[in-house]
């Protein structure tokens, strides 16, 4: 056994208050998560619908796949874009953990780039050649979704490896070639499944939303899509209750206890998240019986959003709990670059304004 090594904290001070970095990390991570869920869950739903359509002959399945095919590459562009800030802010606070774990699994980590590129071109192929591909469509979209599943798995590897410094040195002394995967980690599989299944469920929400948007113009398709989406939400979420419990009990004991009274933030958000998940399942189940499910569905969305946000807080508590013996955020030195921070926010607001303007022009012309 080797003594655990954690690299030093960078002597250059963090150029912003830690709470701001933390806030931006969580805020952008939530957005990234939603887009990622669309891309991964939506891709799998499209692939499964291709098969279901072929088996059942119900045209709605193909119709849904066709529409998803248009959204997937765009959603992937934004998933990538929205993934940049959380990774950036993560490096500011936890760089000494993150770079180290990345190096230890360097090749698998770097291969993320390759898999995303393959998935991306697959989605574009699926979109641009939808009609021509016909029979092979399942393989194209399924292949892309599969590559993204690998990416998710690799991310889970790194996100768990960065929290377990005790494993690092042993691996590194053995080989510096960076070919490691964190397969010995108890929480790896439950954690991965937890995120993966959530992606399917949120993919279902996207289908519901799309169905709602088409209520006026295509009432029949809309009705089908809403139902179909609800099931895509419900079935994964039922399994999630089992996976979630397994994930919870595989956590190191002291980390688990943080969510059961040990940390106030952890416990409160964990409770909100669990109750939100249960409530949303009930709401969506109820909505299946309604002729006009719209208000209930929106309530369900709202509850789920709260759940997701709470889960991101819980995740943060788990992360700090894992590494508390090596590092706490108050060890960071801070020297805010106030002027540049203001400039960032100004440009950010300006950027949103410009994108808003472009969207407005586009929707205007589509209506006209």
């Amino acid at each position: 056994m080797f003594e655990t090594v954690v690299p030093q904290i960078d002597p250059i001070a963090v150029p912003a208050p830690v709470w701001l970095i933390q806030f931006l990390l969580m805020f952008t991570f939530i957005l990234h998560l939603l887009a990622m869920n669309f891309v991964l869950g939506g891709g799998i739903i499209a692939a499964v619908s291709e098969i279901k359509g072929r088996r059942s002959g119900v045209q709605h399945h193909f119709e849904l796949s066709r529409r998803l095919s248009k959204g997937l590459p765009i959603a992937l562009a934004f998933t990538i874009n929205l993934g940049v800030p959380p990774l950036l802010f993560l490096q500011v606070m936890y760089g000494h953990f993150f770079y180290t774990s990345s190096i230890i699994m360097a090749w698998p980590w770097l291969s993320v780039i390759l898999f995303v590129i393959l998935a991306y071109y697959g989605y574009y192929l699926y979109n641009f050649r939808f009609e021509k591909l016909s029979g092979t469509r399942f393989w194209v979209v399924g292949g892309s979704a599969f590559f993204l599943t690998i990416v998710a798995f690799l991310y889970t590897n790194n996100m768990t490896l960065m929290l377990t410094p005790a494993t690092w040195k042993e691996v590194y002394v053995g080989s510096a070639s960076g070919a490691f995967l964190n397969l010995g980690e108890l929480t790896l599989v439950p954690r991965f499944l937890h995120f993966f299944i959530a992606a399917l469920a949120v993919g279902g929400l996207v289908v519901i939303l799309y169905g709602l948007a088409k209520q006026k113009t295509e009432p029949e398709f809309s009705k089908w899509a809403i139902k179909y989406g609800i099931w895509w939400f419900l079935i994964p979420t039922f399994t999630q209750f089992i996976v979630g419990v397994i994930f919870l009990i595989t956590l190191p004991r002291d980390v688990m206890l943080l969510l059961m009274g040990g940390s106030i933030t952890g416990t409160v958000f964990f409770l909100i998240a669990i109750m939100g998940a249960i409530a949303s399942v009930m709401i969506f189940l109820l909505s299946l019986q309604r002729d006009e499910p719209k208000p209930l569905l929106y309530a369900g969305f709202a509850v789920l959003l709260v759940t997701i946000i709470s889960m991101v807080f819980v995740r943060d508590v788990v992360r700090s709990g894992y590494i508390a013996e090596y590092f706490t955020l108050d060890q960071l030195q801070v020297e805010p670059q106030t002027g540049i921070i203001l400039l960032f926010f100004l440009l950010f607001i300006g950027g949103l304004g410009i994108v808003g303007w472009m969207l407005q022009k586009t929707t205007q012309s589509v209506k006209a």
């Binding site: 562009a77 950036l88 490096q91 990345s102 071109y121 510096a176 540049i340 969207l359 012309s365």
Partner: protein, 439 residues
């Protein structure tokens, strides 16, 4: 020192891996900027001349543009970020702590950029020409602004300027090579826009249109390529003395690479000129691919040189290539690198641990630049030296060939690397003899 583990990359070494990923990225990313202006200007030309064929052409070109820049451009950008984090984690960490708000601002432009290009692409012939053009402009401006930001961070690594004393964001950002690098890169953007446009024009069946568009595209590349040497000279003049020395022959293979870059640049100019002048309507696809390959060679050698002239630093005047901070080496000579680094199997050099400790010292102090048996092969460099020679070289590392940083370890550790290198050298030659005698 920032004691991260060092990733061992067989054959290539970290510097080469960075150069490969970076060139692929830069080759697409510069096109993503210049090509953006090319899209709007050409679309405008189509409206002005009321020529639907040109509009058709831009529309098709924009699909190629989207598939290349949005997918490969963006992902290799993330790729280069991943790669520098793996190869130079300490430098990446410091860069991020200095410039995280620069990156955050660049991300805003990236966000506007992809929103704009997606809308631009999906609204062809659906929007008012004026609005569609405006969206194209937004794309181009956002894309160029992201260069404006990232250029500051990239140039900083080689010429941090007053930052070393003041530690101020602005001093580091608008550093001595900022402006010449920005002008050079902008010229490269326009040169590449023309070359990619020749590629998409060369697939045209309509000979007359092909000729017209090739000539038009050449007008983007030629002036930029012509002006590029001037701005590069300006850049050269702003470099630190040691960097200029490396470039002009201090390291022969870097000098050769620089010459290659210049020669390839001149060739590219001539090839575009000849095509546009002599056979614009008959430019074959293969020829335009050749142009791209020559262009790639220019960029690859230029990026390689830019990385290499930073020796012996990774962040100039602040952090050495082996992640030791400038001035820290004195203490490390006392403390020992193995102690400070922490990733070796042993922290002390004894007779028993000698070879393994030498291996770990090599990882910590040399592997940032040398491989064993690959690029900048240390075995080849030490072929003719005895253990004692190597030990002396290591202790006086910064006095020898190669613009190496000072060795930041104890006397015992210097001995250990020397023993280690000699031992693998011997194993190597034994292997060779057995192979030879076996034949």
């Amino acid at each position: 020192m920032l004691n991260f583990p060092v990733w061992e990359i067989p054959h290539l070494g970290g510097g080469m891996l960075i150069a490969i990923v970076a060139t692929i990225h830069v080759f697409i990313a510069h096109f993503a900027i210049g090509g953006g202006l090319f899209l709007v200007m050409t679309e405008r030309k189509a409206y002005k001349e009321n020529d639907d064929r040109i509009l058709d052409y831009v529309q098709r070109h924009s699909r190629f543009f989207l598939l290349l820049t949005l997918v490969l451009g963006a992902m290799t950008g993330v790729g280069i970020w991943f790669t520098i984090g793996l190869v130079s984690p300490a430098a990446t960490s410091s860069l991020i702590n200095i410039f995280v708000w620069g990156w955050a601002i660049e991300w805003v432009f990236f966000f506007v950029e992809i929103a704009a290009i997606i809308i631009y692409f999906y609204t062809w012939r659906k929007l008012q020409p004026k609005t569609h053009l405006a969206i194209g402009w937004i794309y181009f401006i956002a894309a160029w602004m992201s260069l404006f930001v990232i250029n500051g961070i990239v140039a900083f690594m080689l010429t941090p300027g007053a930052w070393v004393e003041t530690r101020s964001f602005i001093d580091g950002f608008f550093n001595p090579t900022y402006w010449p690098a920005l002008v050079s890169r902008t010229l490269v953007c326009f040169a590449l826009a023309g070359i990619y446009a020749i590629l998409t024009a060369s697939v045209f069946k309509d000979r007359e249109l092909r000729g017209k568009m090739v000539r038009y595209a050449a007008r983007w590349s030629l002036p930029s390529l012509f002006l590029l040497p001037l701005s590069l000279y300006w850049y050269y003049a702003a470099l630190p003395d040691v960097a200029r020395e490396i470039l002009t022959g201090g390291l022969p293979f870097i000098y050769d690479t620089a010459v290659l870059s210049v020669v390839a640049g001149g060739t590219l100019f001539l090839l575009v000129l000849i095509a546009a002048w002599l056979f614009p309507a008959r430019v074959p696809v293969a020829y335009s691919i050749l142009l791209l390959l020559v262009g790639f060679t220019v960029m690859f050698s230029a990026e390689r040189v830019r990385e290499a002239i930073r020796k012996p630093y990774v962040l100039y005047d602040y952090m050495y290539t082996h992640s030791v901070l400038k001035g820290e080496q004195e203490n490390l000579r006392e403390e020992g690198i193995l102690n400070a680094w922490g990733w070796g199997k042993y922290n002390e050099v004894t007779d028993e641990t000698m070879i393994r400790a030498g291996k770990d010292v090599f990882r910590a102090q040399c592997m940032a630049c040398h491989t064993i048996g690959g690029y900048n092969d240390v075995l080849k460099l030490t072929e003719d030296y005895t253990v004692d020679d190597i030990e002396i070289i290591v202790l006086e590392l910064d006095q020898f060939r190669g613009y190496m940083p000072p060795f930041a370890g104890s006397f015992d550790e210097a001995r250990a690397v020397a023993e280690y290198l000699t031992q693998i050298e011997e194993e190597r030659s034994e292997e060779l003899t057995t192979i030879r005698s076996g034949r």
